[in-house]
Symmetry: C2
Subunit: 242 residues, 2 copies
């Protein structure tokens, strides 16, 4: 390798094209909660590879328009589904020689949460975009290693349900405590004591009562709350039981 006196001349001759790097993608796993169940947003691929299979709404980093990995995640969600998620957090990075048939590839996965809204395919590389029930994915063949990625995201979200109210980002802006509790119950796969659940949220002062109530026709109406600004960052010192 040639030696250079100074960094400036080193950088002047440096050309990233001289080196082959792994394929570099970003894959958001977008969850929501609707009709009492957890849903994941998937898109049907209209191009090779893995054409016609459902997978995550991710894609390549655009070295011109993206300044950061989070930019890529937001852009891909926007392009493929028209969605802008209020919660986006890096999950894990999956990289290996074999996960993509095109060669060594790396994907940075993000967990995203948002209130349910209808969605549709937005660009030509996507035939369709659809919310799938999490449980239904067991019977499907998904693109690449996307099943493993979704499984990892789901597991992390389960953990967060034990010590935070991050799952609330999967609800509409205004929601009731029974709704939030049920979402946590879905994530944890077990019933929770409503007294415990409500008490810890109230004592940590994470929510603001809007003054409104909502009834679904049966029984006493529930108070509607919205999250305080930083409620998603709060961590309880003691977990709910597993």
């Amino acid at each position: 390798m040639t030696q250079f006196d100074d960094e400036a001349s080193f950088l002047a001759q440096y050309n990233a094209r001289d080196f082959v790097a792994p394929l570099m993608t970003v894959d958001p796993v977008l969850f929501t909660y609707h009709e009492a169940s957890l849903k994941v947003l998937l898109v049907e691929r209209s191009n090779h590879p893995e054409r016609r299979l459902w997978g995550l709404p991710g894609g390549f980093v655009d070295m011109v328009s993206d300044q950061s990995l989070e930019d890529t995640a937001r852009r891909k969600l926007q392009e493929k589904t028209g969605i802008n998620a209020p919660y986006l957090e890096q999950l894990y990075t999956f990289g290996s020689a074999t996960r993509d048939k095109r060669g060594w590839s790396v994907t940075v996965a993000y967990t995203a949460l948002m209130a349910y809204q209808e969605c549709a395919a937005h660009i030509e590389t996507v035939r369709d975009a659809k919310w799938w029930e999490f449980e239904a994915l067991n019977d499907m063949t998904l693109a690449f290693d996307h099943r493993e990625i979704i499984q990892t995201a789901r597991e992390r979200l389960r953990q967060k349900a034990l010590y935070s109210i991050v799952p609330a980002y999967a609800l509409p802006e205004k929601f009731t405590l029974p709704e939030l509790q049920h979402l946590h119950e879905v994530l944890l796969g077990k019933a929770l004591q409503k007294k415990s659940f409500r008490r810890r949220i109230e004592e940590a002062a994470l929510l603001i009562a809007t003054g409104e109530k909502r009834s679904d026709g049966n029984g006493r109406p529930a108070v509607l709350y919205r999250m305080k600004e930083d409620a998603g960052r709060h961590m309880f010192v003691r977990n709910l039981e597993e």
Copy 2:
């Protein structure tokens, strides 16, 4: 873009060299505990860019020899320092257009822990390898965004000290409870109640008494323990106070 009938012909014409991907590196943050303080292993760069600056012992993914990102992390640690760490966990992925002067770059950071041992530079791209006291890094200019990466790793390790005994991987195979407690105290930046600390570890049955004791000359000798196989995976349901 040309259309292909089947995936095989698509893959046959696909050439990763046709696309420019970000630079792709892996950076392990290797911690140990020695002489009552937390240390980080850094190497002095002998090549551009950032020549002569100290940074993490990372490097490019080798698409031939590495099968996974963890392979890269282990290989780089081995090459640059001769070390094989008993604890290695993915930390976070840092990627942006500006973090490396050569262009858009992504690094997958790993946290590694090991018992203290002497180390030395192992290859020509490294002038020197050295354990630095974590506190000393404040006064240094480090390569790239490595200060931020180390800070993130340190913060994650602090979190783990609250609900696990993962930090024990930074100790020798046999260690005493007062040693482990002091390491946690360094990580948390506050004194802990020894009764609480010992009680939770004993009740979770995470350690095995070796039968040996060790005295440092002063006072009653402490019992030496080693970690049970899966002790690093145990998570206490209730955190220590912050």
